[in-house]
């Protein structure tokens, strides 16, 4: 798999705005951003309303994913290009869902909404009408999803990559600095985890660093790329970006995203927690 199979640049998107087999999808942390404006012909997926089970803490099941994509007018053989704000955090999270449910051709817009805006490219308010499809998803691929017991079993054995900011990792903060400080019962990190903040994967404009730079980053941080890896953050969206880097860009085979992440782990009774920096 090459980089262009999973990542496209803004020029590529610009050239495919009217391609009927390319569906551009905006996924934002700020779910109202799309209403202001978006890339022309882009549809929206709302990570809270559309991707989460409305009752349990879990994401939508196979039938739910099929219903969502059918309603959005996305067909099984469409090329889906995801982008969003906040350096593609939630676009990466949605990408991971598309892979989990077996979509054939899904890619990220390198740099997401920020890069598009910094290039002063056009954004529009008009919402496109796409006829509904009959989307068929595959059974969820559990090989790319970690659960809490996988994380506990990985302590001291596999690579654990904590992609939160250094202050969240060390236990000084419970959430990123632009969000209210809430969520888990205890601060800190999973013992033996290395703190490699997601931001180290990206340039200031939100585009990913080169494969060579990324490989050097993980090796310099003491990650043995021959071993299996679990990435986590607070709720699994920033770690989906790191999962994208390790699994999709660098081609590492056994990389899982732990979407329960710190809000689950930091509230479990009896599990080991470490404080302080690496």
């Amino acid at each position: 798999m090459s980089r262009s199979d999973v990542l496209v640049d803004a020029d590529w998107v610009q050239a495919h705005l009217d391609d009927p087999k390319v569906v551009i999808v905006e996924v934002d942390e700020d779910t109202t951003a799309y209403e202001k404006n978006h890339i022309r012909n882009a549809v929206r997926i709302d990570w809270k309303q559309d991707l989460q089970d409305p009752v349990r803490r879990d994401f939508i099941d196979q039938a739910g994913f099929e219903a969502l994509l059918s309603a959005k007018g996305i067909a099984n053989d469409d090329t889906v290009v995801l982008y969003g704000g906040n350096n593609n955090w939630f676009a990466s999270y949605a990408y991971w869902y598309f892979k989990l449910y077996g979509h054939g051709d899904v890619r990220l817009l390198d740099g997401g909404r920020k890069k598009w805006e910094l290039d002063s490219r056009d954004l529009v308010a008009e919402v496109p009408a796409r006829p509904a499809t009959e989307y068929k998803a595959q059974a969820a691929d559990s090989s790319i999803r970690a659960f809490r017991d996988d994380v506990i079993a990985a302590i001291g054995n596999l690579n654990l990559v904590d992609v939160r900011s250094p202050d969240e990792f060390s236990g000084k903060l419970l959430a990123p600095a632009h969000l209210p400080q809430e969520q888990s019962q205890r601060p800190g990190h999973v013992p033996s985890a290395r703190n490699i903040p997601w931001a180290k994967n990206a340039n200031d404009d939100g585009t990913f660093k080169s494969d060579d730079e990324l490989k050097a980053l993980y090796e310099a941080e003491g990650i043995d790329l021959a071993k299996d890896t679990i990435a986590y953050c607070r709720i699994g969206e920033r770690s989906a970006l790191t999962w994208f880097v390790l699994h999709e860009l660098l081609g590492q085979e056994n990389v899982k995203n732990y979407d329960g992440s710190w809000t689950e782990y930091g509230s479990l009774v009896g599990v080991p927690i470490e404080l302080g920096s690496n």
Binding site: D30, G85, N86, N87, K114, E117, L118, D119, S120, S165, P166, D167, K172, L173, P176, A177, H178, L179, P180, Q181, P197, A199, K200, D204, D205
Partner: protein, 96 residues
């Protein structure tokens, strides 16, 4: 939108006494600029990023210490050094 507002967003309803707030606005010739502001720690490491509001404003909840604000707008990047402390919001006006 109407013009830029002086200073950062309204602090009504914010627990200023217990928070360490860095906020302000990004303007060009007095008009708000749509862009992004990054918060970098003393070692230059990325900590957080927010888009500016329609009135060019931004806010971070940080911790006391030295920080760098980096405004990203089309075609330009501007850095500002700030010192934040708990209980008093630091106001930073960034003209680009």
């Amino acid at each position: 939108m109407c013009g830029a507002k002086a200073g950062g967003p309204d602090l009504a309803g914010v627990d200023v006494a217990n928070e360490t707030i860095i906020q302000g606005s990004v303007t060009r010739d007095g008009e708000p600029v749509n862009g992004y502001v990054r918060l970098l720690d003393e070692g230059g490491e990325f900590t957080a990023e927010v888009p500016t509001s329609a009135t060019g404003q931004f806010r971070f909840f940080a911790r006391p210490g030295k920080w760098t604000l980096r405004a990203l707008v089309p075609g330009q990047t501007v850095d500002r050094q700030v010192v934040a402390s708990q209980g008093t919001a630091v106001e930073v006006a960034i003209a680009v």
